[in-house]
Structures are given as structure tokens and as C-alpha cells.
């Protein structure tokens, strides 16, 4: 007993930060070791260099876009009405917001429902589940231009919706489905089994348990996934050009064409007449996407805190 008391006191008596440890490896010692093994030093330098290049690429792109773009964030760029002089991005911003909302309304129920089935109902090793997962992965791998082609063939022509908000939204809904499915399923799987058992123990049915207990506790993870999907929708171009089209005004109804911000920027770039405005639009797009990603990371972090 006396001994364990000693230990507790000990930590209080010794100021650990004052200890001069002998197991510190000095820079000189390290260099001496590398002298014997120069290849290791080369590897270390390569690894550091690669990381520096990755970081530099990001910083360079962002700083360059900001420097060229911010001076072009003029009031005209945000005027309510588009014309070929001001190439205002306001209509496309509004269109993007509406497009995002409609896409989510379509894809979230399907994505979350599918994830609930996979995480809560499906039995382990079920063949069908395997197929569903494989298909979801296949969807995730399809390039956006192929989605664009399909959306054009199916929604625009086969269903005869024309270039329209709905055609664009449905196309993107399929595109972001795997993202929402995967993140939701991951979030559901982090809900501890004790929650389920506790709820069943109180006599609740499975459905009630899912709706009242599991979904709410997985909500931050699901939200983070949805926000991630929003990031993809906002940044998407190739899947939209031949589905949502590129009409310049506000898309007033579900069967009207409009251009999203990313498509707007593509058109500006392609025309080559409004480079300054394109830089400005790039800033708007970057800021939007980064804000969305940061929000997603923030929400996901909340989930991590909840778990503890």
C-alpha cells in the first residue's frame, strides 16, 4: 500500500518537463546515421518533396484563382438579370440552388432507404446484398459524361422532358446515389447495438427503433454525406450540359432549361470572350464548394463527438 502512495506522490514531485532525457536524437546524430545510409536520406527527401508538391499544387491553384478572380467580383457579375455584357452569374447561382434541392429531394429518400435496408434488414452474406453493393460501386465509377449521355437519352428524349430542370436533377440524383448510400450506411453502422437492444427491450418494433432511435443518432453522419453530395452537384458540369442545358435565364418551371454555375463557367470559358468574368465565377464556385466541404467535415466531426 505504501508503495502505491509513493507512486502517486512521485508524479507530483517531479516536474517532467524539466527532465533532461538522454533518449533524444539530435540532428547531428541523425545526419551521422544518414551518412552511413544515404539511400534512406534520399527516400526521406523524396517523400517530403512529394508532400510539398501536393500542397504546393493546391495552394498555387487557389491563390492564383483568388488573385485573378477577386478583383472581378463586380456588382455587375451579380446583377439579377443576365445579358451578354454583364454575363451575370446570379441566375445560374439560383438555378444551382434549385437544382441541388430537387436532386436531393429525389436521391436522399432512395439513398437513405437503401442504406437502411443494407444496414438494418439485410442478412449477412446475402447474395442480393452483394449484388446491390457491386452495382452501387459500379454507379460510383461511371464518369459523369456517361451519366450525361444516359440522362439525355432517357429523360430528355425517351421521356421527352427536353433539356430541363427535372432531367438534370434526375440524372444527378442517380449520380450521387452511391455517395449518399455509402455514407449513410457507414453512419448507421456506427450506431452501437446497445441502442437497438435497448429499444427492442422496451417493446418497440423494428420500424420504430429505426425511425426514433437509429436514424436520429446517425443523423450527423447522414447529413455529412448529403452535404458531400451537394458538393458534387454544385461542381458538376459534364452530366448537366445535355440534360439541364445551358439556357441563360432563371429556370422557372420543372421543364425549363437553365444553366448551373459550373455549366455557366464552362460556357464562359468556351466562348473566350469574358475571361475576367470567368475568373470571378471560378472564385464563386470555389468558395461555394469549399464552404460545403468544410460544413460537411464540421458536421461529420460532430458525429465523432457524439460517439464519445
Amino acid at each position: 500500500m505504501a508503495n502505491s502512495d509513493n507512486i502517486k506522490n512521485d508524479a507530483a514531485l517531479v516536474d517532467v518537463s524539466q527532465i533532461k532525457a538522454i533518449n533524444k536524437v539530435s540532428f547531428k546524430q541523425r545526419m551521422k546515421a544518414y551518412k552511413r545510409k544515404p539511400l534512406s536520406l534520399v527516400l526521406l527527401i523524396l517523400v517530403g518533396l512529394a508532400a510539398a508538391i501536393s500542397a504546393a499544387a493546391l495552394i498555387f491553384i487557389i491563390v492564383y484563382v483568388l488573385v485573378r478572380g477577386v478583383p472581378n467580383l463586380t456588382p455587375e457579375l451579380f446583377s439579377l438579370e443576365y445579358n451578354s455584357d454583364n454575363v451575370s452569374c446570379m441566375p445560374s447561382i439560383i438555378n444551382t440552388i434549385i437544382l441541388t434541392l430537387v436532386t436531393l429531394v429525389i436521391s436522399v429518400p432512395f439513398g437513405v432507404g437503401a442504406a437502411i435496408y443494407l444496414a438494418e434488414y439485410a442478412k449477412r452474406g446475402n447474395k442480393l446484398v452483394k449484388v446491390i453493393r457491386t452495382m452501387a460501386e459500379t454507379l460510383a465509377g461511371i464518369p459523369s459524361i456517361v451519366y450525361g449521355l444516359f440522362g439525355m437519352l432517357f429523360f430528355v428524349y425517351a421521356l421527352n422532358w427536353g433539356y430541363s430542370l427535372l432531367a438534370g436533377a434526375f440524372t444527378l440524383a442517380i449520380m450521387v446515389l452511391p455517395t449518399i448510400m455509402r455514407t449513410t450506411e457507414e453512419a448507421l453502422l456506427t450506431v452501437p447495438d446497445s441502442y437497438r437492444e435497448g429499444s427492442y427491450g422496451l417493446g418497440s418494433g423494428k420500424l420504430r427503433t429505426i425511425m426514433r432511435i437509429i436514424l436520429p443518432s446517425a443523423m450527423p453522419g447522414i447529413l455529412a454525406g448529403i452535404i458531400l453530395a451537394v458538393g458534387r452537384i454544385v461542381g458538376e458540369t459534364a452530366a448537366l450540359i445535355y440534360t439541364y442545358g445551358s439556357a441563360t435565364g432563371y429556370a422557372a418551371g420543372p421543364f425549363n432549361s437553365g444553366r448551373s454555375l459550373a455549366v455557366h463557367m464552362y460556357v464562359l470559358t468556351n466562348e473566350g470572350l469574358h475571361t475576367d468574368q470567368a475568373w470571378g465565377t471560378a472564385v464563386v464556385l470555389l468558395v461555394l464548394v469549399f464552404a460545403i466541404n468544410t460544413l460537411s467535415a464540421f458536421v461529420a466531426k460532430k458525429l465523432g463527438n457524439n460517439k464519445r
Binding site: 507512486i7 508524479a11 517531479v14 527532465i19 538522454i22 533518449n23 551521422k32 546515421a33
Partner: protein, 249 residues
């Protein structure tokens, strides 16, 4: 003759004082066993002998640790130290490559590239670890396919392949069945002719069976160190006696 000498050694993990004023000597060509309850610091001390504790964040060591009277925390290259002081871990950790490449990893690390020379080292090491006959026909097979006992002896052979002077064994048999354990104990007795062995063990009978010297640790203190016979038959400290008798009876 002393292989390792440790004087006034203290070790902290962050604020936790894990080893307190340890003084101990380990003799050449002897097996020294560290015994004591879990968390007493015996593994920590072992890992300080080849500086594997350097990997632990916030680990601070003071005092003096010498190998052949050379300060191992001074100017000695840590990679050379680890070549001289080999280690066998609690859980066998063969690399996910062939048996041959596992053994050859160390020699290759230290610059041996000649195929004939490597072949020779691989065979010698496996023979020294008494596992050559079992493995000689499957050198190109993955080491992960071996049984637990074979894996651990492979790891001993791997450690021997760099021609160390000291072999540290961190509860090297605790995950093995009695037959494999017996083989490794036998091996240790054979190896001590050429190597100095320091082992940490939970198993007091093992210490009694094969070690020449035994040190008993409790709560970060080295309570008693003596010849194994003396420790077990005539412990000087009451705590040692309590531990030993508590375990046996």
C-alpha cells in the same frame, strides 16, 4: 563479465514514472530473466536496451545505459545498436514475404547483396534456430503460412541473421503452446553459448528452468536481482518472496 550495465535509470511515459532508479548488470553469455506482475516495467526496461522506446511519444529516459561499456544513448548509431542487440517480440511478427526473404532482410539491410553469402546466412540462421529441417524445402513460401511456434522460431532466426551480440526476448513464448515453448526454451539454452540473452517472462517456471540470473520488478522498481537459484530459494526481499510464493502456492 558485464554485457549491459544500467545505472540510475529513470523512465517516464508523459507524467507516469514507469521505471525508478534502476541499477542492474547483465552478464555476458548468460540468460537474464525479468519477472514481475504486469505493468511493473520489465518490458519497458527491455525495450530501452535497443532503444525501441524511442518510438513511444513522450517517453523520457535519464541515467546511464552501457553496452560493453559504451553509452548506447550517446554517440552510438541507433541502427548499429539494434544490429548488435536483436529483439524477439511477444507476438511473432514475420514480414509478409517468403521465409528466405524474412531471414535475408537483416543482412540485406546491412549491405550484404551476394547471393551465395545470403544463402549461407539463411541456412546458418535457420539451423541455429533449430528450424532448418522443417523449413528447408519451403524457403520460397510465405512466412505467414507457418504455425505460431514456427513463426516465432523464424523470428529468432531472423534476429540471429544479423549476427547480434545480445538477444532480447519480450515474452517470446507467451502466445505459444507448451511444445513450441519447450522448443524455444531449449533453443535459448543452446544459444547462450554464443549470445547474451535477456528475457521478459510472465512465467516464473520458465525463468526457473532456463535463466541464470533473475531480476524481480514491482511498480517500476527493480526489487531484487540475483542468481536464479538464490532468488527462488532464498529471496532477500519480502515482496519477492510474496510474489514467488503467491504464484507457486
Amino acid at each position: 563479465m558485464d554485457k549491459f550495465t544500467i545505472e540510475n535509470m529513470n523512465l517516464y511515459y508523459g507524467k507516469f514514472h514507469a521505471l525508478k532508479d534502476v541499477n542492474i548488470r547483465m552478464k555476458k553469455n548468460r540468460i537474464t530473466a525479468f519477472i514481475g506482475p504486469s505493468g511493473c516495467g520489465k518490458s519497458t526496461l527491455l525495450k530501452s536496451l535497443n532503444r525501441m522506446n524511442d518510438l513511444v511519444e513522450g517517453c523520457k529516459i535519464t541515467g546511464d545505459i552501457r553496452l560493453d561499456n559504451e553509452d548506447i544513448y550517446g554517440d552510438m548509431d541507433v541502427n548499429i545498436l539494434r544490429k548488435r542487440v536483436g529483439m524477439v517480440f511477444q507476438k511473432a511478427n514475420p514480414f509478409p514475404m517468403s521465409i528466405y526473404d524474412n531471414i535475408a532482410f537483416g543482412p540485406r539491410t546491412h549491405g550484404i547483396k551476394n547471393k551465395c553469402e545470403l544463402d549461407q546466412i539463411v541456412e546458418e540462421s535457420l539451423r541455429d534456430a533449430a528450424i532448418w529441417d522443417e523449413l528447408k524445402d519451403r524457403l520460397k513460401k510465405s512466412a505467414l503460412g507457418l504455425s505460431g511456434g514456427q513463426q516465432q522460431r523464424l523470428c529468432i532466426a531472423r534476429a540471429l541473421a544479423v549476427k547480434p551480440e545480445v538477444l532480447l526476448m519480450d515474452e517470446a513464448t507467451s502466445a505459444l503452446d507448451p511444445i513450441s515453448t519447450g522448443k524455444i526454451e531449449e533453443l535459448c539454452l543452446k544459444l547462450k553459448n554464443d549470445y547474451t540473452i535477456v528475457m521478459v517472462t510472465h512465467n516464473m517456471q520458465q525463468a526457473l528452468r532456463i535463466s541464470d540470473e533473475t531480476a524481480f520488478f514491482l511498480l517500476g522498481e527493480m526489487v531484487e536481482c540475483n542468481s536464479t537459484d538464490a532468488i527462488f530459494s532464498n529471496p532477500q526481499d519480502k515482496r519477492t518472496e510474496e510474489y514467488i510464493t503467491g504464484r507457486f502456492g
